[in-house]
Each structure stands twice: as C-alpha cells, then as structure tokens.
Amino acid sequence: MLYRESGQYKTTYSADQAIFTIPQDRVFFALMLLVAFVGIPLVATDYVYTALLIPFLCLSLAALGLNILTGYCGQLSLGTGAFMGVGAVAAWNIATRIPDLNLLVVFALAGMITAAVGMFFGLPSLRIKGFYLAVATLAAQFFLPWLFVKWGWLTNHATSGVITAPHLNIFGWEADTPLEKYLFALGVVALLALAAKNLVRSNPGRQWMAIRDMDIAAEIIGIRPVVAKLTAFAVSSFYIGVAGALYLFVYLGSTEPDGFGISLSFQALFMIIIGGLGSILGSFLGAFFILLLPIFLTRVPPMLGFDLSTAIVAHLEFMVFGALIVLFLIVEPHGLARLWQIAKEKLRIWPFPY
C-alpha cells in the first residue's frame, strides 16, 4: 500500500543487486538509522541504555554471528556463550597487555582469535551434521569457561577471578557515559551488520546456503565443503567474539570469566529461531524480542493486578520461551523476519491478496 514501485526500473545490475532495491525501503532504513543515531540519544535515559539498548546491541551481534553459522550455513551450535567468552577474555587480555592499542584493533584481534577457536571446534562439522555437531559445540561450551578459570594466565592470575574492562578509548574519544557506550556499540554493530549483509549476498553467503540447502549438490558444483563450513565457523565466531568483547567492555564492565555459560548459548539460539533463521534483520528482531519479553513479563502482570514472585516470573519466562520456540518452528520457521517480509509483500501488492 505504501509502496509505489511502478516506474522504479533498474538500468544497471548494481542497482538491481543493491541491498535495498526499493527506494521506499532505503528511505525507511535511513530513517531507522537516523532514529538509532540521533533520535534515541535525544530521548533515552541511562536506564534504557544500560538495561535494554546496550545488551540488545551486543546480543544482536552475537545472534547475527550464530545466524551466519546456523541460519545461513545450517550448522547448529550450542557454544555461542563460550565463544563470546573467548572474545571477551581475548579482548581483555590484549587491552590490558598492550594498553595503548587502539580499541578497534583490540576488538578485531579478539574477533580473530575467536574465529580461530571457532574453526577448531568446527572441525567435526566436516564429518558430522546436525545435532551431532550441536553436541560437539557443547564440548566448547563446557570446556572453554573451565579453561578461563583454570588457566590463570588468561585472567592475569586475578585473585578475585574477575576481569574488569578498561576504559573505552577510541581514537582519543573516551566512551564513558551510557550514551557514548551505546553510540560506540551501535557503530560497531552497524558496520559489522553491513559487512554480514554483503557477505551473505555474495560468494561466501551463496556457498554457505548451498551447503545448508543441499550439501551434496553443493559439492558437485564445485564448492569445497571444508572451505564453506570452516569459513562459516570463522566468520560466525568472529562476530560472536566481537559481540563477547562488546558485552564485557560496554555492557558488563566486569565479569567472572565463567559467566559465559550455556544459558547465553540458548539465548542466542532462541533469538535466531524467533527472529528468523537465515536473516540479518531477524537477528536484530529476535534479540529485541528475547530481551523485551522478560521485561514485559516482569512489568505487565503487576499492572494487571497479578503480583508474581520473581521466581515465578523466571519460570514463566522459561515456559513462554519454550512455547514460543515451538510455536515459531511450527508456524513460521523463518521467524519474525519472515513475518516482516510477508507484511511487506502484502503492502507491495496491496490491495491484492497475492
């Protein structure tokens, strides 16, 4: 209905292959960016940044990373939490050991280290598939946090066992306030999301999706499964590693290194199932949804006059998540992103039903 596409014809391939081929979408997206970078800073409170927006950005990035692996390449992983831990611990180590290093370089290096670790744990994917692989990634999930604690060098033998992120200093810009931290995280996430979109719409993405959709056919047209799967693990882990570093540096501030547990892994998995497997947008929608739901569950029943204990709310959260996962898998396996896309399609062909 809002789309008026007639007369928007493409005269070049580069226009035909753009991320947003429809001008209305471009405008909408530009508006969203404007809201994110300018609108929100005008209105949001510190509480909104620290309780919602910053964790949202960090976890979106982690979900995005997992989505590359699971949604695009079809390799299930339950090790997201541990890989975020790798990124956080790596970034912390680099930043404290080389204090003057530019923070962006720190994050990039942390991402690469995570990528290397991810590839290592991805090796079994060359021989096994599906839930076998999920179990293999559980090994990472249980082994790595143990390693963070037991290998003292990793935490600089901190007696408390707690690692605390240094100040954020990016090219001399000190990001101290929640707003600044938010803007920093937003910048990183926006850039990486763009890169991810570029990846999935060109050669690497096609390789991954080919492996996901029909691995035998993919190999027969010349895709090397080893390369496709390991790059998926590497890129995915890079994103998750950077997400972990952000999580520590921007959100938590300090943490015990074994705080990157399996619940984070499940959280990320739920984000992409509900948000949409194989969709960049879905990673964000899913993260938003999963973060907002507990807040909703905590706030809404009291408003309706039900006074629920925190324990009950926590249990309810489990139930709702569980039920939602099943519901989405049954009704719309491609999640919120697909619903969004359907809504968009409906608007594009309005008033027709198809």
Partner: protein, 264 residues
Amino acid sequence: MSSVTEKKIGDVLLKVENISLSFGGVKALTDISFEIREHEVLAIIGPNGAGKSSMLNCINGFYHPQQGTITYRGEKRKQMRPHQAAKQGIARTFQNIALFKGMSTLDNIMTGRLLKMKAGLFSSAFYKGPAEREQIEHREFCERIIDFLEIQAIRKVPVGRLPYGLQKRVELARALAAEPTLLLLDEPMAGMNLEEKQDMCRFILDVNDEFGTTICLIEHDMGVVMDISDRVVVLDYGRKIGDGVPAEVKNNQAVIDAYLGVQH
C-alpha cells in the same frame, strides 16, 4: 534444415575402463568400459537399478569404484572428490532435483558460477569495488543462461515455488553456469509432460550445439534417446550389454531382451 552443417565429434574426452563398484558386497557395476567423445551426446540407458546413476556418480567423483580407471582428457584420474571433478569441468544434474531450495533461480545459477568467481571473504564483506564488479560480470553471464533457457519470468522466484518442469530447467541452468566441458544429466526429462520434454530436448541439443558441451545423459524415454543422442550405452544389472549409434542399439537383441522387453 537442408544445409545445416554436421557437428564435429572429436577425440575421446573421458574413458571408463573396467570399472567395478560394489556396496558392502552388492555389485552395482561390473567391469564397465566405454568412452565419451568430445562434443557428442551420449545416452546411458537401462532398466531401473541397472547402475546408470552409479556410473555418473563414479564419473563425477561421488563414488569411488573398487576397480578400473577413469581417464579424463588423456589423464588417468586419481581418486577425487566431486568438487575436484567440478573444477575439471564436469557438471551434472540430479535425478531428484537437487536445487538450493532457499534461494531464488538467479541465486541458484550464480551459485553454480562460484567456481569461476574469486572474491574472498574480505572483499566480499566490503562488497564495493572488486567484489561488486565480479558479481556484475558474472550476473551478466548468468543472465545469458537465463535467456538461453527462457526462464526470465522466474529469475527472482524462490525455486521451491516453481513447478517441477521449471525446476529441472533451473538445475540445468545451474550446471551450465560452470561452463562445463562435460555435462552429466541424470534423467533430465523424468516426470515431464510431452511439451516440457520437447523443450528440454531442444535445450540439450542447443547446449551441445551452441557451447560444444559434451553431454552424457541418462534417459528412459527411448524416443527421446533415439532422437537426441549420437551414441548409446546400455547397462543391465551393472553390466554393459550394448554400445553404439542409436539405430544399432535399437536392433541389438540383447538390448531388446533386457531393456525393451522388460519395459513393454
């Protein structure tokens, strides 16, 4: 047409010698030898379970025969994986359509083109510049295939939504995107109606004619086989029982008994 020039069938492109293949003691292929010549259309026929698909699987490296050798372009081939065969210019389609269901027609074909593309992770992530130029250059090539196979109307449609006949055509397009030297088609016309079959025959002949692609196909429809193939190899119970031009094979008693007799 009266004055259409004869196409030139060249040297031996691929030679299969004394291939035997078995799965856990069950013999799928026994001592098979034949050759595929450049630019020809070779049909492999035979009753169900004769080992036709297994033969293609050996040629493109999916199965590894226990005995025998395959010589490709004059070189004796070592055991290889399918993607290596693809790199050498062997493409194929499948009996049961094996498209990438989550992608559009165009993306499927572009994926078939990956072998010819170079952009790696970093330039792809950056996209602008070399990666985009490469995408555009190969998009144009893929568009020519789309044009060739007359599937313009469905280029942006997810392949899962396409009717069967069109899916088969997209699969052929994907195989062609790799500009193969040798194209293996596993029952390209199975399950098609008469009109779709005629279209597919035309496309196969056009591919063979236009690009000089050597084609080795498995087909059940004897009419089709007789019409479009230059030579026919007949398998039965994993053994070769006939090999020759269509007319010869049609009159070969062993073939009639084993194949035609069974079918009719």
